[in-house]
Symmetry: C2
Subunit: 339 residues, 2 copies
Amino acid sequence: MRAERALRDTHIRLAHGNGGRMMRELVDGIFVPALANPLLDPRVDAVALPCEPGQQLVVTTDGFTVQPLEFPGGNIGSLAVHGTVNDLAVCGATARYLTLGVILEEGLEVALLRRVVDALAAAARACKVSVVAGDTKVVGRGECDGIYLTVTGIGFRPSGGTLGLASVMAGDSVLVSGPVGDHGAAVILARQEFGLHGELASDAASVMPQARVLMGIPGLRFMRDPTRGGLATVAHEIARATGLAIHLDEARIPVRTAVRSVCELLGFDPMYLACEGRLVAVLAPQAAEAALDALRAFAPQAALIGTVRPGPPLVELATAFGGRRLLDELDDDPLPRIC
Amino acid sequence: MRAERALRDTHIRLAHGNGGRMMRELVDGIFVPALANPLLDPRVDAVALPCEPGQQLVVTTDGFTVQPLEFPGGNIGSLAVHGTVNDLAVCGATARYLTLGVILEEGLEVALLRRVVDALAAAARACKVSVVAGDTKVVGRGECDGIYLTVTGIGFRPSGGTLGLASVMAGDSVLVSGPVGDHGAAVILARQEFGLHGELASDAASVMPQARVLMGIPGLRFMRDPTRGGLATVAHEIARATGLAIHLDEARIPVRTAVRSVCELLGFDPMYLACEGRLVAVLAPQAAEAALDALRAFAPQAALIGTVRPGPPLVELATAFGGRRLLDELDDDPLPRIC
């Protein structure tokens, strides 16, 4: 038997995906040291997890194909953790476990992979989640673009809550936890290489603290993280599911000056740009002020940005200039690989 | 508001991944009808699942990048279900839920996607598992090769079993549930377009019935499905984890004539070719005959193929000609995208 050997290659080869020695070296050399925890065992096909008594099991899955792989404020690894944890957070669950599916392109720099896995591991530690199972595939040059990740998140929440679209009603207030569009604008800029991104970084982060605070507010109806398609798309999802109208007040929606500038320069609308560290919440009107106060301890720019009104289901923006404009559902306006 | 509209496109466009109307049409037009079940709700970010009292939660994840996407005996959709269900089965768990991460290439034929999703749905129904959460991303032409899937499987098993590598000991018997290498050989042939694949099809199928029967045999130590790297790689995993030697008897290992021919023609060794519908089991020697009898009801070609012996950890094959050869760990012998 060959002794265990550290990963010596500088670039990923097809044989790193073949199930044999080189794959083991890749897994043992990069993934296991970064992600080590008592449940993670690369020798087994599946992991047993403790169910938590009196709690509901909550599961989500998300693919990450962001381009470029590294951008101001994070990389595909940290983004994958935050995106997945946030999907659990807005459902009122505490994230506990992640599984990690990795697709690598032949020729990828191992140093880049290491940075991505290290960022993923750091984000997981900060979010108090463990990567408990994983899988790695390698495809040929030109058959993927560096690294794609698919992460499944497993969490728990108390049984019997009413959080969800079905609880939203006319008269409710709409909050956002901070400025919108930072992630989308930062990724677009990182792609364009304009040299403009000095002050603009992705907002990618866990919204678990904000979600947990809101879960303590009676009158919380619904939460969602505005990722692909941004704030306007979350508003449309609420309108479509409830048959109600969402009225947003442009003057109250926080947008960073740098994001506004990028949008003006490149013809994007910040209402449709992805966030990766914000949440939108719908609350009973009498709960809105308490929620805002509680949120601001974590999220100083949290704002009350609109109201839910009787239908028809549409999304209307009261503009800063006193007019009104309908925010259409995002149509054939591709911003591929933003997350 | 636009009325709901069926998917009209014949090919995938980047905008099918943008989070807006076109993505909704793709999800509602293809995924939701095929995969419909009471837990699947495309409007929510995460799904709540019932924990089963007295049971352990068991989780696995697997990526699928097989090329070609369709091959004799299945396609990437059915393969993804069987591969994931099998990882749970060999851990003694009953698969219950799947999550589905999809990465699509711009320009993919929608008709092909539909065949894949339909096969995935049919396999899931046959395996009695529900797809409860999903995510779809679209990347540009040349940034993936048609369709990549990442599936997470969630199952349950009774608490307190001893199934696992730690239970394997010298003297144990090694069984395989049927002929090895069918999947690998079928995929290689489908790639090569030799026109030879008339009688050769992938073995991709659920091994849940076989695993469940074996779970009822006292003396069962360990099960594993021999996928990437084949039977030899499973044997190496056992040897490495236990410090014991695995002796295999070539004359007893079932290999179809067609698989043998492909291997001779193209220079592959069936010991290293992937199966997707077989399991390898290690049992106490006195349990082997009972296990074989029980298995043969489902798997007529199940065979007792070897024994576990005192170390050093190596994998040795008693050849059909009376010699012995060491089966090395699979090294730089890439067979990329076999699953």
